[in-house]
């Protein structure tokens, strides 16, 4: 069937029409190869314009459509939908932007803008003539989620998903649930026992009919893609495969053990907050002289980040000690008090009002711990705000250390092909707007695996990651756009560059049998995982990969028509 192109050119009121001579561009469009119809519209996106597209497709038997108007970001779906309504495959449509690319950037150059608009329309027509109809790909989504990690974040995510009707496989490498929170006696800012909030949650998760808890297991392999992942877990040497649609990473973090800092490892009475909680449980009444040092191994050259909630942890233990023994003398040595927001600022004020002393120290003149016979006896510190050295007698020194990423993050990153940031924590897709998602579809993150996070925020992140995981499961199917990479196995030299470079893990090795029946290893792209970014296309030395909708032939047609018209020579 001959190619029959229709071109619709928008004035956008005066936005385009005030600069670009639209009637001239329409007239020009009529002269282009394959064009059988062209018109200008005051607003192509208004109902008048859209109904014109629909009726002209039928009247002139158009089998390709070009709209020259504003940005595809806002308007492409609209025009494609109208092509479909008129019975035209939506992939036989090409968008040309003559507002941002012509009238807006060349506001004072009417003639040049018009000329450029003609060029762009001609390129659009050249490309659209070569486009082929495509079908979107749709795959079923398994309505189950794998949650990795049984701490507060993972438990929260598991419970809300199960309550929404989804099946959850919760895996935990330890033999019990609860994570780091299990090791803490009381939680700020309510100072209630952590068991009071953890136990009901663990019970609800353990007894939920849709949640299967796997304790003491190791994740060894993850394959597949959004909607259809296979995860292999191992328990006591036996392996088992789980089939899920989505995965949430909630592996948490661990407390830094500050070897060699502030007498840690040298004096028995110098310990971290977590060690303190485990050693003393809630028996604080005999504690008299306590110094708490903040930013131990945090906000320093070798570890620049802030632990986010250590300040509050220190205040919590100071309050609890002071409540148990009002005579206790407690000093907190700090560099900045991170009590952001509403609740923590009040908590800070409460600590101050209880008579707990805050001493500001400088990172260049840190407190010195002195003692003998494995016991610290004094802390000497330069009080930055008074400008004097102070010596404080102590029975106990608590070191406020930040959380650090788990050592096995690296391994998990390889298994799941998920990125790790500079601090060693997992890296989300976008720090501002996609904080609980990984770049690859179907993979999500929550809690301290992402960055040190306090309890209510862990719960919120668990719920947020669950919401993201619920979306494809609620939809039941994932529809992927047809513009994906396609490998020609005949040309593939199996060098592996594309496999390495693909940020979505969409290209994998596979066995391919050629027409002679010979088998060899080639790289093939999975259309469900491919996002159509084109990195592989550019990386392929053999020219074996084409991106549908942006093939070499289509792109070169655009370039050539420009070159011919302007008598440019292509090197």
């Amino acid at each position: 069937m001959p190619i029959r192109v229709g071109v619709f050119i928008c004035h956008c009121g005066t936005n385009i029409g005030g600069i670009v001579d639209v009637p001239k561009v329409v007239e020009y469009a009529w002269t282009l190869p394959h064009v059988v119809y062209a018109e200008g519209n005051l607003y192509t996106c208004s109902e008048d314009g859209l109904s014109s597209i629909r009726s002209m497709i039928k009247k002139h038997h158009l089998n390709r459509v070009v709209v020259a108007s504003c940005t595809p970001r806002t308007h492409e779906p609209l025009f494609k939908r109208n092509c479909e309504l008129a019975g035209l495959n939506k992939y036989l449509f090409e968008f040309v932007n003559i507002r941002e690319h012509c009238s807006w950037v060349h506001m004072n150059r009417h003639e040049d803008s018009t000329l450029k608009a003609k060029d762009l329309v001609r390129m659009g027509v050249a490309k659209v003539s070569l486009l082929k109809p495509q079908e979107d790909l749709s795959t079923e989504v398994i309505k189950a989620t794998l949650v990795i990690g049984g701490g507060i974040s993972g438990l929260s995510a598991a419970l809300t998903l199960a309550n929404q009707g989804y099946r959850v496989e919760l895996i935990e490498k330890k033999d019990r649930l609860g994570g780091l929170l299990r090791e803490i006696n009381r939680v700020f800012p309510t100072n209630e026992p952590s068991a009071d909030l953890l136990d009901p949650l663990i019970n609800a998760v353990s007894n939920h009919e849709r949640i299967k808890v796997h304790l003491g297991v190791e994740l060894t392999e993850v394959n597949g893609f959004l909607g259809n992942f296979q995860a292999v877990i191992r328990k006591k040497g036996k392996t088992h495969e789980l089939k899920v649609g989505t995965i949430i990473v909630a592996v948490g973090a661990e407390e830094l053990k500050p070897a060699g800092l502030f007498g840690y490892g040298q004096f028995h009475n110098v310990m971290t907050q977590l060690e303190f909680e485990q050693k003393f449980k809630s028996n604080y009444a005999d504690l008299n002289r306590v110094v708490i040092i903040n930013c131990v191994g945090a906000r320093v050259e070798e570890r620049t980040y802030c632990g986010r909630f250590c300040c509050i942890t220190g205040m919590k233990n100071a309050i609890l000690i002071k409540e148990a023994n009002p005579q206790a003398e407690i000093s907190i040595m700090q560099r900045d008090i991170m009590a952001g927001g509403k609740v923590f600022e009040d908590y800070y004020r409460r600590t101050l009002e209880m008579g707990i002393r805050f001493i500001r120290y400088n990172v260049d003149r840190p407190p010195q711990i002195m003692g003998s016979d494995n016991l610290a006896g004094k802390v000497e510190v330069y009080h930055e705000l008074i400008g004097k050295n102070m010596v404080i007698d102590v029975d106990l020194v608590l070191l406020n250390t930040p959380l650090v990423p788990r050592e096995d993050n690296e391994q998990l990153s390889k298994i799941m092909r998920i990125p790790i940031g500079s601090e060693g924590y997992f890296l989300e897709a976008h720090q501002k707007l996609r904080p609980v998602e990984f770049p690859s579809d179907g993979l999500f993150i929550a809690g301290c695996a992402r960055y040190p996070t306090e309890i209510s925020e862990c719960i919120a992140q668990g719920y947020a990651a669950a919401a993201k995981a619920a979306v494809p499961m609620a939809q039941g199917q994932v529809v992927s756009e047809a513009f994906t990479a396609e490998v020609d196995p005949l040309k593939c030299s199996n060098c592996g560059r594309c496999v390495e470079i693909c940020p979505f893990g969409a290209i994998d090795w596979s066995d391919w049998k050629d027409t002679m029946g010979e088998r060899r290893k080639v790289a093939l792209a999975n259309p469900t995982e491919c996002k159509g970014c084109g990195l592989c296309v550019a990386s392929c030395l053999s020219g074996a990969i084409q991106l549908k909708g942006f093939t070499d032939e289509e792109i070169l047609a655009m370039v050539n028509t420009t070159a011919e018209t302007h008598e440019l020579t292509l090197a």
Partner: protein, 428 residues
């Protein structure tokens, strides 16, 4: 499902719920969704252009089959109970037909009446017929009846004559919509604390003292000065900027809480200013440098080492003005060097406290929920149920609950969506 507030939190909650197949009515009192994030030039700590990352979300919201945008609208009544609420929403008259206006802007170009532009914090002017901001969603124009000549009974009618889409309708009336909904998510965000009562800092009296939001609009390319820094007194480019933190925050005379975002906000503005003018320097007067989020410490380190930003630990007592050059002078005690100083700057920026939306009071009354002493939406079990309110079936997320930044608001929004999905799954 009803979401109240069309800022980033409300937008995110709406998109998540709609993607789960739940019908969402998104109610926003302003003529466009976008909220506070739309007013920002860039965002910390990545310096991503705010509008560039927000606009796609706004458009996704507008184009979503399951989301009905009710902009320029307010909730007036809620009856019934969780799972079976009945809501009344007043859709205010725009005097421009939404289904006809294509947002071309010819009307505003020709409109003869200029009005102070609220979106640009009063720094610029808009017309009596206007689009809330250039990237507004929906892009429909609005007539401000208080200033429109025709609506004030004077001779004009210019916009009606010029509009090729025939969208102007001076006779349009407010509409009351009755909606059946299962649950409500509140995302009403924040307002800016009025800094005029803090007489010691001279805002309103000293011309070259402005607020952080005014600075944000000034440094934004789509703002009233096209991204150029200009001193309000003489349009001159400033060379020395000073930022005063905790203006109204962490202050028992005003708001005793910490507004949570201003330390990073000031750091960002100082970095942006230096990027615009390589010779410019900034000094930030702070109490605690609260850079506790992911990547924040590194951001502050970069500000110091690469952007010549100076941090002084001090709570300035007063700002005065030098008469001949209109330069503000900050009087402060440097608490690290323990000395009283006075230092001259070209421009002073006040990082004002952020307060809960003033409309919370009415909304709380209409919804039958409680606010905390500051006017934030109260979450009685803040620790384990951060999305809850005092009434079943009504949830909160984002800054309307407590001060928080964009990523935290986005997280809370998705979290609230998950909670709503639970409730609706049980109901059905």
């Amino acid at each position: 499902m009803l979401v109240i507030g069309g800022g980033i939190a409300g937008i995110q909650a709406s998109i998540d719920l709609a993607n789960m197949g739940i019908k969402v009515y998104l109610v926003e009192k302003k003529p466009s969704i976008g909220g506070r994030m739309a007013q920002l030039d860039k965002t910390f700590p990545t310096n991503d252009c705010s509008m560039c990352i927000l606009a796609p979300k706004m458009i996704e919201c507008a184009n979503h089959d399951n989301i009905e945008l009710l902009t320029y609208s307010e909730l007036s009544e809620l009856t019934g109970k969780a799972g079976r609420f009945k809501a009344k929403v007043i859709k205010k008259a725009r005097f421009v037909e939404e289904d006809k206006c294509v947002g071309c802007g010819e009307c505003a170009e020709k409109c003869p009446t200029k009005v102070d532009d609220e979106f640009n914090t009063g720094l610029g002017k808009r017309k009596a017929i206007y689009k809330y901001f250039p990237q507004a969603v929906p892009s429909t124009y609005v007539i401000d009846p208080d200033y429109c000549r025709t609506m004030q009974g004077k001779k004009c009618g210019v916009c009606e004559k010029i509009c090729k889409a025939k969208a102007i309708n001076y006779g349009q009336k407010d509409k009351v919509l009755a909606l059946n909904i299962g649950a409500v998510v509140l995302a009403t965000g924040f307002d800016l604390y009025d800094v005029a009562p803090l007489m010691e800092y001279g805002w309103g009296r000293i011309k070259n003292v402005i607020t952080a939001m005014q600075f944000e609009r000034m440094i934004c390319a789509s703002g009233p000065t096209g991204g150029h820094l200009k001193r309000p007194s003489d349009d001159r480019e400033p060379e020395r900027l000073a930022f005063i933190q905790c203006v109204g925050s962490r202050d028992i005379r005003h708001k005793r809480y910490c507004s949570a975002v201003c330390c990073m906000h000031a750091t960002k503005e100082a970095i942006l200013a230096r990027e615009h003018y390589p010779g410019l320097t900034s000094t930030i007067f702070y109490m605690d440098m609260r850079a506790a989020g992911k990547g924040f410490q590194e951001y502050v380190r970069r500000a110091k080492s690469q952007y010549a930003v100076e941090y002084i630990r001090a709570r300035p007592g007063r700002v005065t003005e030098i008469e001949e050059n209109e330069n503000p002078v900050i009087h402060y005690e440097d608490t690290i060097n323990r000395s009283f100083r006075a230092r001259e700057f070209d421009m002073v920026i006040l990082c004002q406290a952020l307060v809960p939306s003033r409309s919370n009071q009415t909304i709380a009354e209409n919804l039958g929920i409680e606010l905390d002493e500051f006017g934030f939406i109260s979450a009685p079990q803040e620790l384990i149920n951060p999305f809850g309110t005092t009434r079943e079936g009504i949830f909160g997320c984002g800054f309307c609950q407590a001060p928080m930044d964009v990523p935290d608001s986005v997280i809370r929004a998705s979290a609230a969506a998950s909670k709503v999905a639970e409730v609706l799954a049980h109901g059905s």
